[in-house]
Amino acid sequence: MPIEIDIAHVARLARLALTPDELDRYRSQLAVILDHAARVQAVDTTGLAPTAHPLGLSNVFRPDEVRPPLDVDEVLSQAPSARDGYFEVPPALEGA
Protein backbone atom coordinates (compact mmCIF):
# COMPACT_ATOMS: atom_id res chain seq x y z
CA MET A 1 0.00 0.00 0.00
CA PRO A 2 1.60 3.29 -1.07
CA ILE A 3 1.99 5.86 1.71
CA GLU A 4 0.66 9.36 1.15
CA ILE A 5 3.42 11.91 1.78
CA ASP A 6 2.80 15.65 1.93
CA ILE A 7 6.39 16.29 0.91
CA ALA A 8 5.90 20.08 0.77
CA HIS A 9 4.75 20.03 4.41
CA VAL A 10 7.70 17.93 5.47
CA ALA A 11 10.06 20.29 3.66
CA ARG A 12 8.45 23.28 5.30
CA LEU A 13 8.84 21.74 8.77
CA ALA A 14 12.53 21.20 8.05
CA ARG A 15 12.87 24.73 6.60
CA LEU A 16 14.06 23.32 3.27
CA ALA A 17 13.40 25.30 0.11
CA LEU A 18 13.06 22.56 -2.51
CA THR A 19 12.43 22.83 -6.24
CA PRO A 20 9.54 20.85 -7.77
CA ASP A 21 12.08 18.34 -9.14
CA GLU A 22 13.62 17.88 -5.73
CA LEU A 23 10.20 17.52 -4.12
CA ASP A 24 9.41 14.66 -6.51
CA ARG A 25 12.77 12.98 -5.99
CA TYR A 26 12.61 13.19 -2.19
CA ARG A 27 9.02 12.05 -2.14
CA SER A 28 9.94 8.80 -3.82
CA GLN A 29 13.07 8.35 -1.67
CA LEU A 30 11.16 9.03 1.51
CA ALA A 31 8.48 6.58 0.41
CA VAL A 32 11.08 3.79 0.36
CA ILE A 33 12.10 4.64 3.94
CA LEU A 34 8.50 4.79 5.14
CA ASP A 35 7.82 1.52 3.38
CA HIS A 36 10.57 -0.06 5.40
CA ALA A 37 9.22 1.49 8.61
CA ALA A 38 5.78 0.09 7.78
CA ARG A 39 7.26 -3.40 7.50
CA VAL A 40 8.93 -3.03 10.91
CA GLN A 41 5.68 -1.72 12.35
CA ALA A 42 3.84 -4.78 11.02
CA VAL A 43 5.87 -7.13 13.26
CA ASP A 44 3.81 -8.51 16.13
CA THR A 45 5.34 -7.03 19.30
CA THR A 46 2.67 -8.16 21.74
CA GLY A 47 4.23 -8.68 25.14
CA LEU A 48 7.47 -6.89 24.26
CA ALA A 49 8.51 -3.75 26.14
CA PRO A 50 9.34 -0.86 23.79
CA THR A 51 13.06 -0.16 23.44
CA ALA A 52 13.68 3.37 24.71
CA HIS A 53 17.40 3.24 24.04
CA PRO A 54 19.66 0.70 22.35
CA LEU A 55 22.37 0.85 25.05
CA GLY A 56 20.17 -0.73 27.73
CA LEU A 57 21.51 1.69 30.34
CA SER A 58 19.50 3.99 32.60
CA ASN A 59 20.16 6.79 35.10
CA VAL A 60 23.36 8.19 33.70
CA PHE A 61 23.63 11.32 35.83
CA ARG A 62 26.18 13.97 36.50
CA PRO A 63 26.45 15.63 39.91
CA ASP A 64 25.00 19.15 40.15
CA GLU A 65 28.38 20.86 39.92
CA VAL A 66 29.36 23.97 38.01
CA ARG A 67 32.06 23.81 35.39
CA PRO A 68 33.64 26.92 33.93
CA PRO A 69 31.71 28.26 30.94
CA LEU A 70 33.33 29.40 27.68
CA ASP A 71 34.81 32.84 27.24
CA VAL A 72 32.18 35.16 25.78
CA ASP A 73 34.55 36.71 23.21
CA GLU A 74 35.54 33.30 21.96
CA VAL A 75 31.88 32.29 21.77
CA LEU A 76 30.83 35.37 19.82
CA SER A 77 33.84 35.20 17.49
CA GLN A 78 32.14 32.15 15.93
CA ALA A 79 28.93 34.05 15.18
CA PRO A 80 28.19 35.68 11.80
CA SER A 81 26.94 38.71 13.70
CA ALA A 82 27.14 39.87 17.31
CA ARG A 83 26.30 43.04 19.19
CA ASP A 84 26.90 44.13 22.81
CA GLY A 85 27.68 40.60 23.96
CA TYR A 86 24.64 39.13 22.19
CA PHE A 87 24.31 36.96 19.11
CA GLU A 88 22.50 38.97 16.47
CA VAL A 89 20.09 37.32 14.04
CA PRO A 90 17.44 38.51 11.58
CA PRO A 91 14.20 39.54 13.32
CA ALA A 92 12.35 36.50 14.63
CA LEU A 93 8.60 36.25 14.71
CA GLU A 94 7.16 35.11 18.00
CA GLY A 95 5.75 31.60 17.78
CA ALA A 96 7.01 31.15 14.23
Binding site: N59, V60, R67, V72, V75, Y86, V89, P90, A92, L93
Partner: protein, 482 residues
Protein backbone atom coordinates in the same frame (compact mmCIF):
# COMPACT_ATOMS: atom_id res chain seq x y z
CA UNK B 1 -27.52 34.98 35.19
CA UNK B 2 -24.61 33.75 33.14
CA UNK B 3 -25.40 30.91 30.78
CA UNK B 4 -21.75 30.15 30.00
CA UNK B 5 -19.29 28.18 32.06
CA UNK B 6 -15.58 28.92 31.71
CA UNK B 7 -13.20 25.95 31.68
CA UNK B 8 -9.59 26.77 32.51
CA UNK B 9 -6.39 24.79 32.74
CA UNK B 10 -3.00 26.21 33.67
CA UNK B 11 0.45 25.30 32.42
CA UNK B 12 3.26 26.32 34.72
CA UNK B 13 6.96 26.48 33.93
CA UNK B 14 9.31 26.48 36.89
CA UNK B 15 13.04 27.10 36.56
CA UNK B 16 14.87 24.98 39.09
CA UNK B 17 17.47 26.68 41.27
CA UNK B 18 20.13 24.02 40.83
CA UNK B 19 23.76 25.13 40.77
CA UNK B 20 24.31 23.91 37.21
CA UNK B 21 22.17 23.57 34.10
CA UNK B 22 20.10 20.55 33.08
CA UNK B 23 22.48 18.90 30.64
CA UNK B 24 25.80 20.71 31.12
CA UNK B 25 27.90 22.17 33.93
CA UNK B 26 27.25 25.84 33.13
CA UNK B 27 26.05 27.81 36.15
CA UNK B 28 22.38 28.76 36.50
CA UNK B 29 22.49 32.56 36.66
CA UNK B 30 20.08 35.48 36.43
CA UNK B 31 20.90 39.00 35.31
CA UNK B 32 24.53 38.29 34.41
CA UNK B 33 26.25 39.69 31.34
CA UNK B 34 24.83 37.95 28.23
CA UNK B 35 26.44 34.73 27.00
CA UNK B 36 28.79 34.40 29.97
CA UNK B 37 27.25 31.13 31.22
CA UNK B 38 27.36 29.07 28.05
CA UNK B 39 29.22 26.06 26.65
CA UNK B 40 29.05 23.89 23.51
CA UNK B 41 26.13 21.87 24.93
CA UNK B 42 23.78 24.74 25.78
CA UNK B 43 24.81 26.61 22.62
CA UNK B 44 23.83 23.57 20.57
CA UNK B 45 27.24 23.28 18.90
CA UNK B 46 27.69 20.20 16.71
CA UNK B 47 29.01 17.16 18.54
CA UNK B 48 28.23 18.38 22.04
CA UNK B 49 26.39 15.82 24.17
CA UNK B 50 23.98 16.32 27.09
CA UNK B 51 24.45 14.63 30.48
CA UNK B 52 21.49 14.69 32.88
CA UNK B 53 21.70 16.65 36.14
CA UNK B 54 20.64 14.04 38.74
CA UNK B 55 19.65 16.67 41.31
CA UNK B 56 17.17 18.25 38.90
CA UNK B 57 15.42 14.89 38.45
CA UNK B 58 15.15 14.44 42.24
CA UNK B 59 13.75 17.95 42.58
CA UNK B 60 11.16 17.23 39.90
CA UNK B 61 10.10 14.15 41.88
CA UNK B 62 9.94 16.36 44.97
CA UNK B 63 7.54 18.71 43.19
CA UNK B 64 5.55 15.75 41.88
CA UNK B 65 5.19 14.17 45.31
CA UNK B 66 4.14 17.48 46.86
CA UNK B 67 1.43 17.55 44.18
CA UNK B 68 0.37 13.99 45.10
CA UNK B 69 1.52 12.66 41.73
CA UNK B 70 2.53 9.14 40.92
CA UNK B 71 6.25 8.98 40.14
CA UNK B 72 6.82 6.90 37.04
CA UNK B 73 9.30 4.06 37.66
CA UNK B 74 10.46 4.50 34.06
CA UNK B 75 10.49 7.63 31.95
CA UNK B 76 12.33 9.00 28.92
CA UNK B 77 13.36 12.25 27.30
CA UNK B 78 12.04 13.27 23.89
CA UNK B 79 13.09 15.86 21.37
CA UNK B 80 10.53 18.54 20.63
CA UNK B 81 11.48 19.84 17.21
CA UNK B 82 10.88 23.42 16.20
CA UNK B 83 12.83 26.30 14.72
CA UNK B 84 13.23 29.40 16.77
CA UNK B 85 16.30 31.52 17.26
CA UNK B 86 16.44 30.99 21.03
CA UNK B 87 16.49 27.18 20.60
CA UNK B 88 19.98 26.63 19.26
CA UNK B 89 19.75 22.87 18.64
CA UNK B 90 16.45 23.34 16.73
CA UNK B 91 14.88 21.05 19.29
CA UNK B 92 14.17 21.28 22.98
CA UNK B 93 14.88 18.27 25.16
CA UNK B 94 11.58 17.58 26.90
CA UNK B 95 9.34 14.68 27.84
CA UNK B 96 6.36 13.44 25.88
CA UNK B 97 4.38 10.29 26.65
CA UNK B 98 6.51 9.06 29.56
CA UNK B 99 6.89 12.01 31.97
CA UNK B 100 8.34 11.61 35.47
CA UNK B 101 5.17 12.71 37.36
CA UNK B 102 1.53 11.94 36.53
CA UNK B 103 -1.96 12.14 38.06
CA UNK B 104 -1.75 14.43 41.07
CA UNK B 105 -3.81 17.19 42.64
CA UNK B 106 -3.58 20.42 44.58
CA UNK B 107 -6.28 21.73 46.93
CA UNK B 108 -6.74 25.48 46.65
CA UNK B 109 -9.14 27.89 48.31
CA UNK B 110 -10.82 30.54 46.18
CA UNK B 111 -13.68 32.78 47.31
CA UNK B 112 -13.90 30.80 50.55
CA UNK B 113 -14.48 27.55 48.68
CA UNK B 114 -11.96 24.71 48.56
CA UNK B 115 -11.49 23.06 45.18
CA UNK B 116 -9.31 20.15 44.17
CA UNK B 117 -7.37 20.88 40.98
CA UNK B 118 -6.16 17.82 39.13
CA UNK B 119 -2.54 17.71 37.96
CA UNK B 120 -2.22 15.86 34.67
CA UNK B 121 1.56 15.71 34.62
CA UNK B 122 4.83 17.34 35.62
CA UNK B 123 7.80 16.77 33.38
CA UNK B 124 11.43 17.75 32.92
CA UNK B 125 12.71 19.92 30.11
CA UNK B 126 15.27 22.62 29.42
CA UNK B 127 14.69 26.36 29.17
CA UNK B 128 15.38 28.29 25.98
CA UNK B 129 17.67 31.27 25.49
CA UNK B 130 16.32 34.80 25.74
CA UNK B 131 15.44 36.91 22.70
CA UNK B 132 15.61 40.66 22.66
CA UNK B 133 13.82 42.25 19.74
CA UNK B 134 15.61 45.34 18.47
CA UNK B 135 14.03 48.42 16.95
CA UNK B 136 10.72 50.21 17.67
CA UNK B 137 10.88 49.83 21.43
CA UNK B 138 11.41 46.10 21.55
CA UNK B 139 8.19 45.26 19.72
CA UNK B 140 8.27 41.92 17.99
CA UNK B 141 6.55 42.86 14.75
CA UNK B 142 8.56 46.01 14.12
CA UNK B 143 11.94 44.51 15.08
CA UNK B 144 14.91 45.05 12.81
CA UNK B 145 17.01 42.34 14.44
CA UNK B 146 16.89 39.89 17.31
CA UNK B 147 19.59 39.66 19.97
CA UNK B 148 20.19 36.38 21.75
CA UNK B 149 21.48 35.56 25.20
CA UNK B 150 21.97 31.86 25.91
CA UNK B 151 22.64 32.11 29.66
CA UNK B 152 19.13 30.72 30.24
CA UNK B 153 19.49 28.06 27.55
CA UNK B 154 19.49 24.65 29.23
CA UNK B 155 18.38 25.79 32.67
CA UNK B 156 16.35 22.94 34.23
CA UNK B 157 12.68 23.64 33.60
CA UNK B 158 9.74 21.76 35.09
CA UNK B 159 6.41 21.98 33.29
CA UNK B 160 3.32 21.35 35.43
CA UNK B 161 0.06 20.85 33.54
CA UNK B 162 -3.24 21.08 35.42
CA UNK B 163 -6.45 19.43 34.34
CA UNK B 164 -9.16 21.82 33.10
CA UNK B 165 -10.69 21.94 36.58
CA UNK B 166 -10.78 25.70 37.12
CA UNK B 167 -14.05 27.55 36.58
CA UNK B 168 -13.22 31.22 37.10
CA UNK B 169 -10.38 33.71 36.76
CA UNK B 170 -10.28 34.00 40.56
CA UNK B 171 -9.86 30.23 40.93
CA UNK B 172 -7.07 30.28 38.34
CA UNK B 173 -5.29 33.01 40.28
CA UNK B 174 -5.66 31.11 43.57
CA UNK B 175 -4.25 27.99 41.95
CA UNK B 176 -1.29 29.91 40.50
CA UNK B 177 -0.54 31.59 43.82
CA UNK B 178 -0.80 28.39 45.82
CA UNK B 179 1.36 26.51 43.35
CA UNK B 180 3.99 29.25 43.54
CA UNK B 181 3.94 29.11 47.35
CA UNK B 182 4.31 25.34 47.21
CA UNK B 183 7.29 25.44 44.88
CA UNK B 184 8.95 28.12 47.01
CA UNK B 185 8.32 26.03 50.12
CA UNK B 186 10.03 23.04 48.54
CA UNK B 187 13.18 25.10 48.08
CA UNK B 188 13.64 23.94 44.49
CA UNK B 189 13.18 27.35 42.83
CA UNK B 190 13.12 30.97 43.89
CA UNK B 191 9.82 31.05 41.94
CA UNK B 192 9.97 34.77 41.12
CA UNK B 193 7.35 35.73 38.59
CA UNK B 194 8.99 39.09 37.90
CA UNK B 195 12.27 37.35 37.00
CA UNK B 196 10.51 34.69 34.97
CA UNK B 197 11.65 31.82 37.15
CA UNK B 198 7.98 30.81 37.35
CA UNK B 199 5.73 31.41 34.34
CA UNK B 200 2.06 30.75 33.79
CA UNK B 201 0.10 30.08 30.60
CA UNK B 202 -3.65 29.50 30.61
CA UNK B 203 -5.93 27.41 28.41
CA UNK B 204 -9.36 28.96 28.36
CA UNK B 205 -12.62 27.84 26.79
CA UNK B 206 -16.29 28.39 27.57
CA UNK B 207 -19.32 26.10 27.17
CA UNK B 208 -23.03 26.38 27.87
CA UNK B 209 -23.73 25.79 31.55
CA UNK B 210 -24.47 22.15 32.44
CA UNK B 211 -23.01 20.73 29.23
CA UNK B 212 -20.11 18.33 29.23
CA UNK B 213 -18.42 18.90 25.90
CA UNK B 214 -15.45 21.27 26.00
CA UNK B 215 -15.47 24.40 23.85
CA UNK B 216 -12.59 25.42 21.58
CA UNK B 217 -9.67 26.42 23.75
CA UNK B 218 -7.40 29.41 23.44
CA UNK B 219 -3.95 29.56 25.00
CA UNK B 220 -3.01 32.83 26.71
CA UNK B 221 0.59 33.85 27.21
CA UNK B 222 2.49 36.84 28.56
CA UNK B 223 0.89 37.17 31.97
CA UNK B 224 3.55 38.69 34.19
CA UNK B 225 1.81 38.94 37.55
CA UNK B 226 -1.00 37.18 39.40
CA UNK B 227 -3.11 40.24 38.84
CA UNK B 228 -2.52 40.19 35.08
CA UNK B 229 -3.22 36.45 35.03
CA UNK B 230 -6.63 37.02 36.61
CA UNK B 231 -7.40 39.99 34.37
CA UNK B 232 -6.24 38.20 31.21
CA UNK B 233 -8.37 35.12 31.88
CA UNK B 234 -11.38 37.26 32.83
CA UNK B 235 -11.04 39.31 29.67
CA UNK B 236 -10.59 36.23 27.48
CA UNK B 237 -13.70 34.58 28.99
CA UNK B 238 -15.71 37.72 28.18
CA UNK B 239 -14.27 37.84 24.66
CA UNK B 240 -15.19 34.23 23.92
CA UNK B 241 -18.72 34.62 25.31
CA UNK B 242 -19.08 37.73 23.14
CA UNK B 243 -17.95 35.87 20.02
CA UNK B 244 -20.32 32.95 20.71
CA UNK B 245 -23.31 35.14 21.55
CA UNK B 246 -22.78 37.02 18.29
CA UNK B 247 -23.13 33.68 16.53
CA UNK B 248 -19.41 33.38 15.81
CA UNK B 249 -16.93 30.61 16.56
CA UNK B 250 -13.88 30.67 18.79
CA UNK B 251 -10.71 29.90 16.85
CA UNK B 252 -8.10 27.66 18.42
CA UNK B 253 -5.05 29.91 18.74
CA UNK B 254 -2.47 31.41 21.04
CA UNK B 255 -3.21 34.92 22.26
CA UNK B 256 -0.96 37.41 24.01
CA UNK B 257 -2.17 39.39 27.01
CA UNK B 258 -1.65 43.12 26.47
CA UNK B 259 -1.46 44.67 29.91
CA UNK B 260 -1.91 48.24 28.72
CA UNK B 261 -4.88 47.58 26.47
CA UNK B 262 -6.38 45.16 28.98
CA UNK B 263 -7.21 42.55 26.35
CA UNK B 264 -5.76 39.45 24.72
CA UNK B 265 -4.49 39.74 21.17
CA UNK B 266 -4.15 37.05 18.53
CA UNK B 267 -0.57 36.26 17.55
CA UNK B 268 0.65 35.77 14.03
CA UNK B 269 1.57 32.13 13.89
CA UNK B 270 2.81 30.14 10.96
CA UNK B 271 0.78 27.22 9.78
CA UNK B 272 2.05 23.84 10.90
CA UNK B 273 4.30 25.35 13.54
CA UNK B 274 2.85 23.08 16.22
CA UNK B 275 3.94 19.88 14.46
CA UNK B 276 6.74 19.09 16.89
CA UNK B 277 7.60 15.60 15.60
CA UNK B 278 8.53 14.28 19.04
CA UNK B 279 10.91 11.36 19.08
CA UNK B 280 12.97 9.78 21.86
CA UNK B 281 16.21 11.63 22.59
CA UNK B 282 18.93 9.25 21.38
CA UNK B 283 21.65 11.12 23.32
CA UNK B 284 20.09 10.36 26.71
CA UNK B 285 19.32 7.03 28.37
CA UNK B 286 16.00 6.46 30.22
CA UNK B 287 15.32 7.44 33.82
CA UNK B 288 14.39 4.81 36.36
CA UNK B 289 13.20 5.69 39.82
CA UNK B 290 12.87 2.79 42.24
CA UNK B 291 10.24 2.89 44.98
CA UNK B 292 12.96 3.27 47.62
CA UNK B 293 14.15 6.53 46.05
CA UNK B 294 10.58 7.80 45.78
CA UNK B 295 10.01 7.04 49.47
CA UNK B 296 13.25 8.76 50.49
CA UNK B 297 12.21 11.91 48.62
CA UNK B 298 8.68 11.71 50.06
CA UNK B 299 10.02 11.41 53.63
CA UNK B 300 12.17 14.44 52.98
CA UNK B 301 9.24 16.73 52.03
CA UNK B 302 8.66 19.75 54.29
CA UNK B 303 5.21 20.54 55.67
CA UNK B 304 3.18 21.73 52.68
CA UNK B 305 1.28 25.03 52.76
CA UNK B 306 -2.16 23.39 52.53
CA UNK B 307 -1.33 20.99 55.37
CA UNK B 308 -0.02 23.85 57.46
CA UNK B 309 -3.16 25.92 56.96
CA UNK B 310 -5.18 22.93 58.07
CA UNK B 311 -3.01 22.50 61.18
CA UNK B 312 -3.32 26.19 62.10
CA UNK B 313 -7.10 25.85 61.82
CA UNK B 314 -7.05 22.91 64.20
CA UNK B 315 -5.10 25.01 66.71
CA UNK B 316 -8.16 27.26 66.91
CA UNK B 317 -6.99 30.11 64.64
CA UNK B 318 -9.76 31.70 62.61
CA UNK B 319 -9.44 31.82 58.83
CA UNK B 320 -8.15 35.39 58.81
CA UNK B 321 -5.40 34.57 61.31
CA UNK B 322 -4.61 31.35 59.41
CA UNK B 323 -4.11 33.37 56.23
CA UNK B 324 -1.99 36.08 57.83
CA UNK B 325 0.18 33.60 59.72
CA UNK B 326 0.56 31.39 56.63
CA UNK B 327 1.78 34.41 54.72
CA UNK B 328 4.28 35.32 57.44
CA UNK B 329 8.01 34.90 57.14
CA UNK B 330 9.00 31.21 57.56
CA UNK B 331 11.34 32.11 60.44
CA UNK B 332 8.48 33.79 62.29
CA UNK B 333 6.25 30.78 61.67
CA UNK B 334 8.97 28.64 63.22
CA UNK B 335 8.99 30.88 66.31
CA UNK B 336 5.21 30.44 66.51
CA UNK B 337 5.48 26.65 66.28
CA UNK B 338 8.16 26.53 68.97
CA UNK B 339 6.18 28.75 71.33
CA UNK B 340 3.05 26.65 70.88
CA UNK B 341 5.07 23.48 71.44
CA UNK B 342 6.20 25.02 74.76
CA UNK B 343 2.57 25.42 75.80
CA UNK B 344 1.83 29.01 74.75
CA UNK B 345 -1.75 29.75 73.73
CA UNK B 346 -1.88 29.40 69.88
CA UNK B 347 -4.31 32.25 69.19
CA UNK B 348 -2.48 34.71 71.46
CA UNK B 349 0.89 33.60 70.06
CA UNK B 350 -0.38 34.01 66.50
CA UNK B 351 -1.62 37.50 67.31
CA UNK B 352 1.79 38.43 68.69
CA UNK B 353 3.61 36.97 65.66
CA UNK B 354 1.39 38.60 63.04
CA UNK B 355 1.11 41.85 65.01
CA UNK B 356 3.84 43.26 67.19
CA UNK B 357 6.63 40.82 66.27
CA UNK B 358 6.12 41.45 62.55
CA UNK B 359 5.95 45.21 63.22
CA UNK B 360 9.29 45.14 65.06
CA UNK B 361 10.82 43.14 62.22
CA UNK B 362 9.58 45.62 59.62
CA UNK B 363 10.92 48.59 61.58
CA UNK B 364 14.24 46.80 62.02
CA UNK B 365 14.35 46.04 58.30
CA UNK B 366 13.79 49.70 57.50
CA UNK B 367 16.60 50.79 59.81
CA UNK B 368 18.76 47.77 58.89
CA UNK B 369 18.94 46.77 62.54
CA UNK B 370 19.50 43.18 63.60
CA UNK B 371 16.59 41.69 65.57
CA UNK B 372 15.75 38.16 66.63
CA UNK B 373 13.31 36.21 68.73
CA UNK B 374 13.17 32.60 69.87
CA UNK B 375 10.11 30.47 70.42
CA UNK B 376 10.93 30.22 74.12
CA UNK B 377 10.94 34.05 74.34
CA UNK B 378 7.47 34.27 72.84
CA UNK B 379 6.20 31.49 75.09
CA UNK B 380 7.56 33.27 78.18
CA UNK B 381 6.09 36.59 77.11
CA UNK B 382 2.64 35.11 76.52
CA UNK B 383 2.85 33.34 79.88
CA UNK B 384 3.87 36.53 81.74
CA UNK B 385 0.90 38.44 80.32
CA UNK B 386 -1.43 35.59 81.23
CA UNK B 387 -0.11 35.48 84.80
CA UNK B 388 -0.44 39.22 85.15
CA UNK B 389 3.29 39.79 85.51
CA UNK B 390 3.26 42.04 82.43
CA UNK B 391 0.54 44.38 81.27
CA UNK B 392 -0.04 44.19 77.53
CA UNK B 393 1.64 47.54 76.95
CA UNK B 394 4.60 46.53 79.14
CA UNK B 395 4.77 43.28 77.18
CA UNK B 396 5.21 45.25 73.95
CA UNK B 397 8.10 47.13 75.47
CA UNK B 398 9.61 43.91 76.83
CA UNK B 399 9.29 42.38 73.36
CA UNK B 400 11.25 45.16 71.70
CA UNK B 401 13.98 44.69 74.31
CA UNK B 402 14.02 40.94 73.74
CA UNK B 403 14.25 41.38 69.98
CA UNK B 404 17.04 43.91 70.37
CA UNK B 405 19.03 41.20 72.14
CA UNK B 406 18.71 42.44 75.74
CA UNK B 407 17.78 39.02 77.09
CA UNK B 408 14.72 36.91 77.84
CA UNK B 409 11.35 38.61 78.49
CA UNK B 410 11.77 38.16 82.24
CA UNK B 411 15.28 39.62 82.17
CA UNK B 412 14.18 42.57 80.04
CA UNK B 413 11.10 43.17 82.20
CA UNK B 414 13.23 43.28 85.33
CA UNK B 415 16.02 45.37 83.83
CA UNK B 416 13.52 47.88 82.42
CA UNK B 417 11.38 47.78 85.56
CA UNK B 418 8.27 46.61 83.70
CA UNK B 419 7.11 43.88 86.02
CA UNK B 420 3.58 44.39 87.19
CA UNK B 421 3.13 44.35 90.98
CA UNK B 422 0.70 41.59 91.87
CA UNK B 423 1.72 41.34 95.51
CA UNK B 424 -1.49 41.86 97.49
CA UNK B 425 0.43 43.06 100.54
CA UNK B 426 2.27 45.76 98.60
CA UNK B 427 -0.84 46.89 96.75
CA UNK B 428 -2.87 46.74 99.96
CA UNK B 429 -0.41 49.07 101.68
CA UNK B 430 -0.66 51.54 98.81
CA UNK B 431 -4.45 51.37 98.93
CA UNK B 432 -4.51 52.04 102.64
CA UNK B 433 -2.31 55.06 102.09
CA UNK B 434 -4.59 56.39 99.35
CA UNK B 435 -7.77 55.76 101.32
CA UNK B 436 -6.39 57.53 104.36
CA UNK B 437 -5.73 60.62 102.27
CA UNK B 438 -9.11 60.60 100.49
CA UNK B 439 -11.83 60.22 103.08
CA UNK B 440 -14.18 62.48 101.14
CA UNK B 441 -13.85 60.43 97.98
CA UNK B 442 -14.77 57.29 99.88
CA UNK B 443 -17.95 58.89 101.10
CA UNK B 444 -18.91 59.89 97.55
CA UNK B 445 -18.23 56.39 96.31
CA UNK B 446 -20.36 54.91 99.07
CA UNK B 447 -23.02 57.44 98.07
CA UNK B 448 -23.12 55.79 94.61
CA UNK B 449 -20.68 57.92 92.63
CA UNK B 450 -19.08 55.03 90.73
CA UNK B 451 -16.68 57.18 88.73
CA UNK B 452 -14.81 57.97 91.92
CA UNK B 453 -13.52 54.40 91.88
CA UNK B 454 -11.54 55.20 88.75
CA UNK B 455 -10.01 58.18 90.49
CA UNK B 456 -8.96 56.01 93.43
CA UNK B 457 -7.50 53.32 91.15
CA UNK B 458 -5.52 56.06 89.46
CA UNK B 459 -4.19 57.24 92.79
CA UNK B 460 -3.11 53.72 93.74
CA UNK B 461 -1.45 53.23 90.35
CA UNK B 462 0.43 56.47 90.87
CA UNK B 463 1.48 55.39 94.37
CA UNK B 464 2.93 52.16 92.92
CA UNK B 465 4.74 53.91 90.12
CA UNK B 466 2.22 52.56 87.59
CA UNK B 467 3.30 48.98 88.10
CA UNK B 468 0.39 47.57 90.06
CA UNK B 469 -1.88 45.14 88.23
CA UNK B 470 -4.94 47.38 87.64
CA UNK B 471 -7.36 44.48 87.84
CA UNK B 472 -6.04 43.54 91.25
CA UNK B 473 -6.13 47.16 92.45
CA UNK B 474 -9.76 47.37 91.41
CA UNK B 475 -10.72 44.20 93.22
CA UNK B 476 -8.86 45.07 96.43
CA UNK B 477 -10.30 48.58 96.51
CA UNK B 478 -13.86 47.29 96.26
CA UNK B 479 -13.18 44.77 98.99
CA UNK B 480 -12.03 47.50 101.35
CA UNK B 481 -14.76 50.01 100.62
CA UNK B 482 -17.86 47.87 100.69
Amino acid sequence: MSTWEPVIGIEVHVELGTASKMFCGCPVVFGDQPNTAVCPTCLGLPGALPVTNGTAIEWLARIGLALHCRIAPFSVFHRKNYFYADVPKNYQISQFDLPVCVDGWLDVTADGEEIRVGIERAHMEEDTGKSLHQGSGGRIHAATSTLLDFNRSGVPLVEIVSRPDLRSAAQARAYAQDLRALVAELGVSDARMEEGSIRFDANVSVRPVSTKELGTKVEIKNMNSFRSLERAIGSEIDRQIGVLEDGGAVIQETRHWDEEVGATKGMRTKEGSSDYRYFTEPDLVPLEMPASTVERIRTDLPELPADRRHRFGQLGLDSHLVNVLSGSDPDLRRVFDEAVALGADPVISANWITGEVTAVFRRAEASKAEVRIRGSDLAELVMMVKQGTLSSSAAKEALSGVMAGEGSPREVAEARDLVQVSDEGLIGAAIDQVLAANAEAIERLRGGEEKVLGFLVGQVMRATGGKADPKLVNALLRQRIT
